[in-house]
Structures are given as structure tokens and as C-alpha cells.
């Protein structure tokens, strides 16, 4: 490319930012005013918010218009995210669908599947959970044992097995999951990516209380669950490749935009400033940690713009997605850890109050190095695929 380096958004992108900001100012709920999305009540409140966004075409800005989006590019999406987090708008209850499954469905889905699933995903009418991990297959995802066999009428598959740690699983309408369709094939081969309705006969959901007491995830049992052929995503036996596209979204650009961390880092600096005014010595002890955490978010912002430019210029994101995932998950921890240290005795407050979101945020951040493939697995990927070290 002959375009000189430029880190400014264009006037059109800035106009898009103003439009988003104005809409969010008029429509977004007060920060933290909705009940937790991991409760039945909160789930529905968050669904209503998704619907409100969808009605004004803000829920999936980067999707084509025919599916409810605005057809904008990745940079505009990043701008929207900046405004979304600046407004401290609610967490996205539909994130597994819109940020993970949707990019995969755009790549691998049939036209019919896209028409059937994407608009309902965008409006929050159908919320998705992810059925990947099993009790004996977590980091070793290729070791999954849940299986699918042809149905007697040969029009679909019968799914049997157990999935676990499915975020949003307690309340979701749909699940995307990996099942073994060829028991003879070796590990990564013989897997197929299915789209399963959670109300289908044979599906049993058992919510699992997380360490904060809420049922953020669930176990899902499948007992001869019939799934028609048109709910296979990307071809029978292609499950691993399709899943890796989803994992790329999960670790790479689309799940965690930098705005989330930049906004938290700004709040951290504000907290530091408050403490500096009342307790300069105490604040000083955290100065380096605060600076580090803010910088971690800032370099993530720059790194994302760097990667986004590469993608727009026709490049792709390979194993760098793993480096990315390690960085954003550790950034989230660093920000919240620094905040808790600044809070001192206020750090244990949970639930309501102005200090409490930091502990809730810390609990959420602690999950980051675990989900989407543990950071240990990501370090293996970086070592093997970026540095050429031999597989162990």
C-alpha cells in the first residue's frame, strides 16, 4: 500500500462516532442499572436492550444491512465499540452469537442458514451459547467424545453426550457445538459443527453456579437429540476447521475490542486520582501498577488498529490471535488488580455501591485466562506457530 501511516479516523468515521454517541446518550440505560445478565430477570432485561439496539440498527453495525446491520467496516466497528464502552452500556448478552458464531456463519454458512439465523441473533430474539468443552475435553478440545450418528430416517443426526461451561447456557435458545460424527477418525478429523435448539427433545440443561453465586454457565446433556441436516455448519467432518475460525474470532479481533479495556483503564486513572487527593502515600504505592495497566490497554488499542489495518489490506490473523488473547486477558486482570489494591478495605465490597464494580470486574477478569482456550495453551500456540518450536 502506498497510503502513508495515519492514526486518525476519517471525517466520515468521526461523523459515525457522533451518531453512535448521540444514540447511546439518548437510549442506553444508566451504567450498571440492569440486573446481572446471569439471572433470569437480567437476561430478559439485556435481551430487551439488544432489541432496542436492533430496532435502530446498532446491534450489529458491521453486518450487511439485509441482516440488520449497517454494512460498516472493522474500523467503524471499533469506533462504535469505543462509544459503546464510553457510555458504559450493558454487557452484550448476545455476544456468543454476534461476535463468535456470526463471523463463522458468514464464512461457512449457507445462504439459507444466514437468513434463518442471523436476523434473530441480531435482535436478541435468539440468544446463543457455545457447546465445546466437555468434562474430559477442555484445553484438549480435540478429545471431545460427544457424538452424532445418522438418524434412522437419514434426514439428520442424533446427538448424544455432555457439554459443559457453556456461558449463557442456562437461558440461551440455541447452542453451537462440536460433535464427533466419525468415531473411526483421528481426533481433529471426524468432528462436525452443529446448531442445536435448546428446546429440542433430549436436551437437558443444568445451570452451574459460578464463584460469584450466579449461574453464568451451564452443563448441557444431549440424549439422542435430533438435529436436521440443514443445521450442520460448514460440512460434515469439517468441524475442526470451522471451530478454529470461531476460536480465531474469540481470541483475535472480534470478541474483545480494546474499548472495553481503555474504558476500564480510564476509570482506574480516575480512581487513582481520587486516592491521590485523599491518601497520596497509599496511592503512590500503586502508581507503577496503575501506569502499567493503563499502558497495557493503550498498546492493545494500538495493536488492534495495526491488526485491523492488516486485515483491511488483505492480510489475515494467524497465531497472533493467541498472543492477542493472552494480552487482553492479562490486561483485564492488571486493571482490576490495580484498582482493588487502590481500594484497600473497599476491595471486598460486592454487589451495590460505587466501589463494588471493581470486584465484580475482577471476578470476570479472572475467567479471561481460562476461557477461549487457556493462556497456557495459547503460549504453546505462540511458541509452536510463531517461534517454530516443536510440538511437545
Amino acid at each position: 500500500m502506498d497510503t502513508p501511516m495515519d492514526l486518525r479516523f476519517t471525517p466520515a468515521q468521526e461523523a459515525f462516532r457522533r451518531e453512535a454517541r448521540a444514540w447511546l446518550a439518548a437510549n442506553a440505560p444508566e451504567p450498571r442499572s440492569l440486573p446481572s445478565l446471569d439471572t433470569a430477570e437480567g437476561f430478559e432485561a439485556h435481551r430487551s436492550w439488544e432489541r432496542a439496539m436492533f430496532d435502530d440498527r446498532w446491534s450489529v453495525v458491521s453486518w450487511p444491512e439485509e441482516f440488520g446491520g449497517r454494512g460498516v467496516g472493522i474500523l467503524e466497528w471499533l469506533v462504535f465499540e469505543e462509544e459503546y464502552w464510553r457510555a458504559q452500556a450493558p454487557l452484550r448478552v448476545s455476544q456468543n452469537g454476534v461476535f463468535l458464531l456470526a463471523p463463522t456463519m458468514f464464512e461457512f454458512g449457507t445462504e439459507q442458514q444466514q437468513r434463518r439465523f442471523l436476523p434473530a441473533m441480531a435482535s436478541g430474539a435468539e440468544i446463543w451459547c457455545q457447546g465445546w468443552s466437555e468434562p474430559d475435553a477442555g484445553s484438549d478440545l480435540a478429545g471431545i467424545r460427544s457424538r452424532a450418528v445418522r438418524s434412522a430416517d437419514d434426514r439428520g443426526w442424533l446427538l448424544t453426550g455432555q457439554k459443559t461451561w457453556a456461558s449463557r447456557g442456562a437461558f440461551a435458545e440455541w447452542c453451537f457445538g462440536l460433535f464427533r460424527t466419525d468415531p473411526e477418525a483421528d481426533r481433529h478429523r471426524g468432528l462436525t459443527y452443529f446448531l442445536v435448539e435448546m428446546t429440542a427433545p433430549g436436551v437437558t440443561v443444568r445451570p452451574i453456579p459460578q464463584l460469584d453465586g450466579e449461574t453464568g454457565f451451564a452443563e448441557i446433556f444431549f440424549d439422542d437429540v435430533f438435529v436436521p441436516d440443514d443445521q450442520v455448519l460448514g460440512g460434515v467432518g469439517q468441524g475442526w476447521n470451522v471451530a478454529m475460525a470461531t476460536a480465531g474470532s474469540e481470541r483475535g479481533l472480534s470478541l474483545r475490542s480494546p474499548a472495553r479495556y481503555c474504558e476500564a483503564a480510564s476509570r482506574l486513572v480516575a480512581l487513582y486520582r481520587q486516592r491521590l487527593a485523599t491518601d497520596p502515600v497509599g496511592a503512590g504505592r500503586s502508581a507503577d501498577a496503575v501506569a502499567r495497566a493503563w499502558m497495557d490497554a493503550e498498546v492493545y488499542r494500538l495493536g488492534t488498529l495495526w491488526t485491523a489495518t492488516r486485515v483491511l489490506d488483505g492480510g489475515s490473523v494467524g497465531p497472533e490471535a493467541s498472543a492477542n488473547k493472552i494480552h487482553w486477558s492479562e490486561t483485564d486482570l492488571a486493571i482490576h488488580r490495580a484498582a482493588l489494591d487502590l481500594l484497600g478495605p473497599g476491595a471486598e465490597l460486592h454487589g451495590g455501591g460505587t466501589d463494588a464494580p471493581w470486584l465484580d470486574g475482577y471476578l470476570f477478569a479472572l475467567a479471561g485466562p481460562i476461557y477461549a482456550g487457556t493462556n497456557e495453551i495459547q503460549r504453546n500456540v505462540v511458541a509452536e506457530r510463531m517461534l517454530g518450536l516443536p510440538r511437545g
Binding site: 500500500m1 502513508p4 486518525r8 486513572v269 486520582r273 501506569a291 498498546v299 488498529l305 497456557e376 511458541a383
Partner: protein, 351 residues
């Protein structure tokens, strides 16, 4: 928004990489360790390629390039631990001198001659950081020109440019002899003064910011080189019947260093752009860049040595050629901790 180098910048970088691959091998580095010098045949090659004069205005025989253009070249210099003072001369001294050629900054000093001589490869410059006390100056032993800051008077700092016959240079040993560290004794005088007052203050500040970014760029190249050396070693070295690089304990050390480096890069590139554009947050961006790059290099150095094991602790192994430069540059122009303190002060003041 287009956060990438241009094809032309990449081509220039690749050409320089190729030349340095041939002219700055580890054998060459060892020769430089034994007999450090400011200007060498390699310096002439770099001048012929336009690298030394890259930032010299075209009117004075250079390419008139900015810091964004220089950063990929400095990264290559870091990758081979280039002993010659490209950073001090081309990234720091030249932009400062070039500003003095502006019509409203009349100085009687032969600034144009200096710039032309630099572009032709005839001058290596040492730049003294604005530090209190007799801090040794990098590249001062054997330099052809000295750009030095003085505390000045009530009007603030002054900048002086001196030729070798006006300074007394006393070499100071560095762990990396190619740093050519020396204490520079000199007396500020009317004759050597090229800037004072607000102009000098601004030049001192911007030179420090440019130094943070340019040093950061060299640290990126050094870090990648050290990690690559260690990864190569981890593939060749066998223990327990396997390459040690197949053990997760080893993999995770190197992967951790690589991840830090992956995010130091855009920090350095973005800061270079901010400085070139005169963005209001440019100085803070420069500090983010240096803090991140220093940390990345310190981690890469520690991890690379650890992965090499005892052989990495020897003179025989090439690793130390890069470790020493990485340690020196991590501390030069502000440590990571100093720059983090600057970042935080700027953030707190912003409210």
C-alpha cells in the same frame, strides 16, 4: 486510519536488512567489540544507501524522511546490534540541526555544512541527554560532532554544538564497548550556542521524545533477535532425548517474551507517527513506547539467556553481543519505570 508502513518503507527496510545481514554478522560485531569506531566501511555503505542521511533535508543532500520512515531502519539496526551511531546521528542530531536551518533561527554555526557532511557519511554525532551531572555520553569517544544541552540561565536550557577540538573526551568503560561511552568536558560559550530560550527547551524535549522512540525501535529489533537465537537453540539442544523447545516450561518463557514484544511494536510505531505529526499526546506516546520496549527487551534478554543455559553465559556464544546492547538501551534515555511515571503524571494532569 491506516496503521501500517508503506510498501516503499518496507522495501527500504528490506534492502537495509539484506545489507546488514552481509556486513554486520556476529563475526563483524566481535571485531567491533575489539576495536570500536564511529565511522567504518559499514558506515560508508549505509551512507551510500541513504540510510545515514535519511532524515537530512533533501536540500542538504539527504532523503528528508521522518521518524516513521526511520523506525523500521532502526529496528534493523537493533536486529544486528549495529555498532555505528545511526540512532544518535540520524534519528536525534539531524532533526535537531535541521530545525536550526529554518530562516528565523539564524545561527552563525555551519549547520548546513554539518548536515551535508553527515549525509555524505563524513560525520558521526554524539548527543548528550539532558541529565544532571557528568553522565557519560554514548558515542562520544571518537565522535566528529557533539550536540550537548546545558542548564543555561534564567531563560532555560541551551543547546550547544561543538567540534572535537572544543571538548575533552574521557572514555568510560561500558559493558558494550561499541557504545563508545565517554565523559565529555566542555564549557558553554557564545560561539557554540545554537539555541536558547523556548526554542532550546522545545528541542531538548522533542529530542528526548525522539530518543525514547528511536531507542525503543532498536530494542524491538534486539528483542526479536534474542528470542530467535533462543528459539533456534531450543530446537537444536536436546535433553532427556528431546529438543528442550518441546518442553512447555521453555516454550512459555519464550512465548511470554514474544507476546510482550508483539505489543511493544505498535506502541513504538504509533509514537513515531504521533511525533512526526506533532500530536498533543505525542510525548506521552513516546514514553509508552520506551517503557514497553524497555520491558520487552529486558524480558527477552533474561528469557533468552535462561533458555540458552550455561552456554549463553559464555563469551563464545553470540547471545551476549545482543544482551549487552539491550541492557544499555533499556536504561538509556529513561528507564521503563521513569517513563511509566511520566505517563501517569500526564494522565493525572489530564483531568
Amino acid at each position: 486510519m491506516h496503521f501500517a508502513f508503506t510498501d516503499q518503507q518496507i522495501e527500504f527496510r528490506d534492502a537495509v536488512r539484506q545489507v546488514l545481514l552481509n556486513e554486520c554478522s556476529t563475526d563483524d560485531l566481535r571485531a567491533s567489540f575489539a576495536a570500536p569506531a564511529a565511522r567504518t566501511p559499514r558506515w560508508e555503505t549505509l551512507a551510500t544507501l541513504g540510510v545515514v542521511g535519511a532524515s537530512v533535508p533533501e536540500a542538504h543532500g539527504g532523503l528528508g524522511l521522518g521518524l516513521v520512515d526511520l523506525v523500521p531502519l532502526l529496528e534493523e539496526a537493533g536486529r544486528v546490534a549495529l555498532p555505528e551511531p545511526l540512532l544518535d546521528t540520524t534519528a536525534l542530531a539531524v532533526p535537531l540541526l535541521a530545525e536550526l536551518t529554518a530562516a528565523d533561527r539564524a545561527t552563525t554555526a555551519p549547520v548546513s555544512d554539518w548536515l551535508e557532511s553527515i549525509a555524505a557519511g563524513g560525520m558521526a554525532v554524539a548527543v548528550g541527554p539532558p541529565a544532571p551531572g557528568p553522565t557519560p555520553v554514548a558515542g562520544a569517544d571518537g565522535a566528529d560532532l557533539y550536540v550537548l544541552a546545558a542548564a543555561g540561565g534564567p531563560d532555560g536550557p541551551e543547546i550547544h554544538v561543538l567540534e572535537p577540538d572544543s571538548v575533552t573526551v574521557t572514555p568510560v568503560p561500558s559493558l558494550d564497548p561499541t557504545r563508545r561511552l565517554a565523559a565529555v568536558q566542555w564549557a558553554p560559550g557564545q560561539e557554540s550556542r545554537v539555541a536558547s530560550g523556548p526554542l532550546a527547551a522545545s528541542l531538548v524535549g522533542r529530542t528526548a521524545d525522539r530518543a525514547a522512540v528511536a531507542t525503543g525501535a532498536e530494542l524491538l529489533g534486539l528483542s526479536q533477535r534474542m528470542i530467535t537465537l533462543a528459539a533456534d537453540h531450543a530446537q537444536e539442544r536436546h535433553q532427556f532425548g528431546r529438543p528442550i523447545g518441546s518442553f512447555q516450561a521453555v516454550k512459555h518463557l519464550l512465548a511470554g517474551a514474544q507476546v510482550t514484544l508483539e505489543f511493544a511494536r505498535p506502541a513504538v510505531y504509533g509514537a513515531a507517527w504521533s511525533l512526526d505529526e506533532g500530536e498533543p499526546t505525542a510525548s506521552r506516546a513516546a514514553s509508552v513506547a520506551k517503557a514497553y520496549a524497555s520491558d520487552a527487551a529486558t524480558e527477552a534478554a533474561r528469557v533468552s539467556l535462561q533458555v540458552h543455559g550455561a552456554i549463553g553465559y559464555t563469551w563464545e556464544c553470540d547471545l551476549h553481543l545482543f544482551l549487552k546492547r539491550a541492557w544499555a538501551l533499556s536504561a538509556a534515555w529513561g528507564s521503563a519505570a521513569e517513563h511509566r511515571a511520566r505517563v501517569l503524571a500526564s494522565l493525572v494532569a489530564e483531568a
